[in-house]
Point group: C2
Chain length 333, copies 2
């Protein structure tokens, strides 16, 4: 659990895209962000107040979050002075980079001296149990995709946000580093040891109120041969009551696998539902989330209607339209 | 890769079952076993020559394999003197216990002094790649089960042995610690980090001769919610050309999951094949392996015929009948 609120460190981000983790935090948890800290040459701007470490500290910030990724996911030498100063001032540090904070001796020394914590959200900090498959109280919704990176995290966050607005009890449950930084907790599922994957998902989504929904972030795809085992563990460990199918219609092949074509939404439905019913015989597919970012507004509307008619399920792009219809569809459970 | 041949250490095994790893090595790779080493009170006996460390060394043994598991999978203090003496004499040590050799400072010190290697086969020793899904040359057969521990390793070993006898090129590819100790190499798949599971299976089963079969040891089950992610990674990383369904007909519930009943062989077939076709569209289910150890010979024969008629696939218990019919069935690929 990472202490909030954050000061968002954008470093010397070469463009907005490099700061997409910080952007996600600002978009989804504005209350977690007191300001942004930019170094000379930074080309990203979240529209938050620029603050020094001291100013943000005075405004209540507890953790400096590295919200920027440079090439190779490393901790840039040019960031070091700021990071060490932050630790000395009593900030914790949080990072989702491949290059771990804990592998930098100067950061470790500064953190120890200050009694501060280094959060590397890419690696597990918990010894997860082996899954026991016992039915848990409360309800769970899982986003499963035709491919990686088709909008599963976005769908989960958007459904959680819509649920909050609609007065439906809900918690977003992140399973990847960006989601973990956004909410301050979660499980970095792709870094968990195989035997404990499903148990980690059970740990992430414990017993809850009968009318409470966990919106579980999906990972990978049953059709993506590199990561399908992670998806499988989410389907069985998450024992979802509801599944939302996620798709990006303009993609020409599976991400990173040029010889693999994307499955249809029908094929995804027919594969995911029987597998989900192993852990939860009452599981239903309740809606479809389409990432239409590469389509015009008009194309998107035509496509969404076509899919909705064909599949007989509420079909939305949560970015363009919000996720209210998906949350409404949970009522069938 | 563990150097063979072995001296098999049975320690103070309280019964034969405690020495089942050693038994597996002796049964499947007799040429790897020069003898057995038993401590006072040992109740197991493989029927191999009892040897001292010096005698086995003279007979060519290169590695002392801990072929016994005591309660808790720990390294017993009573074994230590022998293990340290073995290291001092130039043996490598190999173990599949939870309690790692490398976590015992006295063993580490003795190994370093002697230039010997400690093999903990329960943990990966390789940085496996992320799976790339590219079609490999050669052929692969994977055992998939209705449950854990239904005879998938046995099926793979028996098919490999039958193939060798029949002049079919074949290699058994272990994915668990017992199989790794038996053959001296393999991937401890349940201990691999999630993102690299399928890549580890690709690594284990590389390009090969067009008429060569990898007999891949299965793990878990698509229907076992604790471990299904590992099974999924085998199906996609292994890109099998042939699948053998494995089943134990007397089991009353999924292993360790009292509220989960076993799937039918039909359900396993219908779940596994579409998933396998994602990675290898030509994959076929070629036969069925039944573990009839809890049935009489008569019951077994009736049951095997019933399954064969119902499923339309060669159905054998490889322990009672050998695996020749399963290897013959590979000819359809």
């Amino acid at each position: 659990m990472i202490h909030t609120p954050y000061l968002l460190f954008l470093g010397d981000a070469p463009d907005s895209l490099a700061a997409k983790v910080a952007q996600g935090i600002k978009d989804w948890r504005p209350e977690n962000s007191v300001g942004q800290l930019r170094l000379q040459g930074c080309k990203a701007d979240l529209g938050l107040t620029d603050m020094t470490l001291a100013e943000a500290k005075a405004a209540g910030a507890k953790t400096l979050v590295i919200g920027v990724a440079n090439r190779g996911g490393v901790i840039s030498p040019s960031w070091k002075a700021v990071l060490i100063e932050a630790l000395e001032m009593g900030y914790d540090l949080a990072s989702g980079l491949h290059n771990l904070l804990r592998d930098e001796p100067d950061l470790v020394a500064a953190a120890e001296a200050a009694g501060a914590t280094l959060h590397d959200v890419r690696v597990p900090s918990v010894d997860y149990p082996i899954a026991n498959g016992i039915k848990r109280t409360g309800k769970r919704c899982l986003a499963v995709g035709t491919d990686c990176s088709v909008g599963k995290m976005y769908t989960g966050l958007a459904m959680d946000a819509a649920a909050q607005k609609m007065g439906v009890k809900s918690t977003f449950r992140p399973t990847g580093q960006t989601g973990i930084l956004i909410t301050g907790q979660g499980v970095p599922l792709d870094a968990v040891v195989a035997d404990f994957m499903a148990g980690a998902v059970e740990y992430l989504t414990p017993d809850n109120d009968d009318d409470h929904w966990d919106m579980i972030e999906g990972q990978g795809s049953l059709f993506h041969v590199s990561y399908s085992g992670v998806t499988m563990a989410l389907i069985h460990g998450g024992q979802p009551d509801a599944i939302v199918l996620c798709h990006e219609p303009t993609r020409e092949h599976m991400r990173g696998l040029p010889t693999y074509s994307l499955p249809t939404l029908e094929a995804l439905r027919d594969m995911a539902l029987p597998l989900a019913k192993v852990a939860n015989p009452d599981c239903k597919i309740i809606g479809i989330s389409i990432n239409t970012q590469h389509m015009s507004e008009e194309e998107a509307i035509v496509y969404l209607k076509e899919v909705e008619d064909r599949m007989g399920l509420p079909t939305v792009d949560p970015y363009r339209q919000g996720a209210e219809r998906l949350v409404e569809a949970l009522a069938v459970i």
